[in-house]
Subunit: 457 residues, 2 copies
């Protein structure tokens, strides 16, 4: 789906401008989130796999170029921009990035592109949309699965996602951050994640009565059956299953007081010899509701979570940006920054070091890429694309999930809190602060003083 | 992008169950929103065009079928489900729907599918994701463009959308509900909507100074240039443009106090003989900020709105569902409903009539499709697909936009309010209430009384 036209028009007007000026300087852009959403203590990076695939396959087709010639805003562009530049364009740059599944924080580069200016500019929009959306969903999934503890969480949110492509990538992001499976079949097909599903109310309603509905489903799926029991009366339906001698793998509750109903249904199933039949719960769940059910000791064996995951409902967007940080000016690598009110950026090509204490990370340091690592610091950004070519194999989702769950669990407890999370310490290195101060004074000798001791956004 | 696997797994387990039972009864499902988001007084229907295309092109490819055979949850399915049913499957049903751009309310069917049970079930997930997402964005765009009045609004939200497919459809939905153009190039290419763009901070930062940056851009785009002036100091940049003798079409402000800056910049431009140079404003705008800028009399000629539009940020999902309402039982069309706690549905195949008074609509009536129209009532649902074939030509976006803006402007003023909107009256017809009461009593003679005088969700 991602192609040359998956971009904002101004990326093309600027690229045509660079082309007209013969400007092919290499430049570095960094993608980062300005501020965490109020409800997030940490984010989980995701989307890198699709971003790399996009860069590898990035092309302008002849039909697309024919269209671009007709766009009024591009009428000033030189004909060779279309005939030559766009026709031959491939991504030839380097990308450094934080691995998917890694906890990240505000102001930390998640991805850095170094490429000729036009190339680096044209890929901005798609990189932002890809990384930010999937990071938002993975971050939400980490919270929900942490709340569920050892009980599995299934991603069931496709129908409320922002279209079915978003649904598929949301399913992947949710699984890499902790979900055990998804209902999204396309995600299973394309990414190899486990798919799971139950039945809908319509199955029950399409039959003359619940007994017929359940029996017919069990006749097909036998011990794998998951029967949805809340269409009319959940407890009565559980009794019906027992009386009919059905032995489903699980029943699903989708409405009502889930603490009360799960206990009552558990009692009915246990008394009926169905101690092995699990209870799944669904119905507009999120991390807070899951935590409350776990805390109440509700006998629920797994959670299906939909909208909250597939749209990251309480934080559906991240304040992510992609900013020029360095440009090669006639052979001199020149760090740059902007001073726009409230939106200053931090200059230079950067690295992020995660500093570990005895029990886990204690804080991050954002510094210049060439600096020595701080004591106990491990770099987060590694080279994933060099000269346009992928440098690392695609990782399996379950490997990412295991690493993610471990990394999230090692974060300071306050940072992992679901409400009023503590702020994880992210410091700028001394060298980076000095650079920002120097450039600020050069750019605006009489301008408002920019406080470089706090983290620029 | 939408295909056979764009679905939840349970649609497939149910379809295989119907296939195993030889169940091919025709059934009707209705897609509607249970409740308006707290911040919405009305919704604007969108997504139908993509939904129809999806149904027309819906297929299971051999590779997809090969994958489905391996899914554990489908192991009980009959081999002919894969070899025969899925391989030959095409959408053969009928669809009735509300035209794109039409204001709609909670509980009103936006779309109805009548098809053999398996078909109607399998398309559920994609229809919901398609219609709900695009309706959410169109609804937001109607608010933002109403707030802007005669000043144009441009959709600039691609980078924060839920991936670039979502960005493209968000752009279309925003334009059909009122935006004049989008920055999304793919939307321009695929849907013929106007595309617009300016320049980014990186263009300014990539040059040694602002004068060089502006001059080089103007050299390419001349009087079409839109110059971004807030990278360092907006007012100083406006003076620079005047002094340099540049004559851009517009300047763009992206940060700071937009009321103050737009006035100061307007003064600089006017004094410098650039009265024709417009001022565009961007920067995390939404309907409330746009209304405040308009109300303050800020000399802003157009608004670029991003994240708020592309994610419908304050209401990123709609509580939409797709519910079985009628099934053919051995030749008898049988209305059905569910009673799940808090999630009762309303039985039978329905129509929505919009009842007009002298100045515009005064309320809607949801009734059974066969009923006579109420006095002054015009039906909203029309047949858009019959026997799997599209019944109406694709409408041009600007035609939909004109109709939408007119329809929204005619809604009662209280319903259009951006905060604490009045509730638009939606009544159930007497026949529909009677039917719901009858079925409720049949299904649960001893169950909690369902109050059918209020609108079932």
């Amino acid at each position: 789906m991602l192609g040359g036209l998956s971009t904002d028009l101004y990326e093309l007007t600027m690229a045509a401008g660079y082309h007209a000026a013969g400007e092919t300087a290499r430049a570095s852009f960094e993608l980062f989130v300005r501020e965490l959403p109020a409800t997030r203590g940490y984010l989980v990076a995701a989307g890198l796999e699709q971003a790399i695939t996009y860069l590898e396959t990035w092309r302008y087709t002849p039909d697309e170029i024919t269209y671009l010639r007709t766009v009024p805003a591009l009428q000033g562009a030189d004909p060779t921009f279309f005939d030559d530049y766009l026709r031959r364009l491939r991504f030839t740059g380097d990308v450094w990035a934080v691995p998917e599944g890694t906890p990240v924080f505000a102001g930390e580069p998640i991805l850095r592109v170094t490429a000729p200016l036009g190339e680096a500019q044209l890929v901005e929009t798609a990189l932002l949309a890809t990384i930010l959306f999937q990071t938002a969903v993975a971050s939400k999934a980490a919270r929900v699965t942490q709340a569920a503890g050892a009980r599995p969480v299934f991603e069931f949110g496709g129908r409320r996602a922002h279209g079915m492509e978003a649904a598929m990538y949301a399913a992947r992001a949710a699984c890499l951050a902790g979900c055990r499976a998804t209902s999204n079949v396309d995600a299973g097909y394309r990414f190899g994640v486990p798919v799971s599903g139950t039945m809908a109310h319509s199955w029950v309603m399409a039959h003359p009565d619940e007994l017929t509905a359940f029996s017919r489903y069990a006749a097909v799926y036998g011990p794998r059956s998951v029967l949805l029991i809340d269409t009319y009366d959940s407890i009565a339906a559980a009794r019906l299953i027992v009386r009919a001698g059905l032995r489903p793998a699980a029943v699903r509750l989708d409405s009502g007081d889930l603490v009360h109903l799960s206990r009552a249904v558990r009692d009915v199933l246990d008394a009926g010899g169905l101690a092995d039949t699990q209870i799944l719960a669904t119905g507009d769940l999120d991390e807070h509701k899951v935590a409350a059910l776990v805390s109440a000791g509700a006998p629920i064996d797994g959670f299906g979570v939909g909208t909250a995951l597939s749209t990251s409902s309480d934080a559906p967007s991240l304040s992510g940006v992609y900013k020029l940080v360095e440009i090669d000016r006639a052979g001199t690598l020149t760090p740059v920054m902007k001073l726009s009110a409230g939106k200053q950026t931090c200059p230079g090509v950067k690295q992020v070091w995660r500093v570990y204490g005895p029990t886990g990370p204690v804080g991050d340091v954002v510094g210049l890429a060439g600096e020595a690592a701080p004591t106990g610091g491990e770099p987060l950004l590694t080279c994933v694309v060099r000269g346009g070519a992928r440098q690392q194999p695609t990782r399996a989702i379950d490997q990412i999930r295991d690493a993610c769950q471990t990394a999230v669990a090692r974060l300071p407890e306050g940072v992992r809190r679901h409400r009023d999370a503590a702020v994880y310490p992210v410091a700028l290195s001394a060298a980076l602060k000095r650079l920002a101060a120097t450039i600020t004074s050069e750019l605006s000798p009489r301008a408002t003083v920019v406080d470089t001791s706090s983290r620029p956004s």
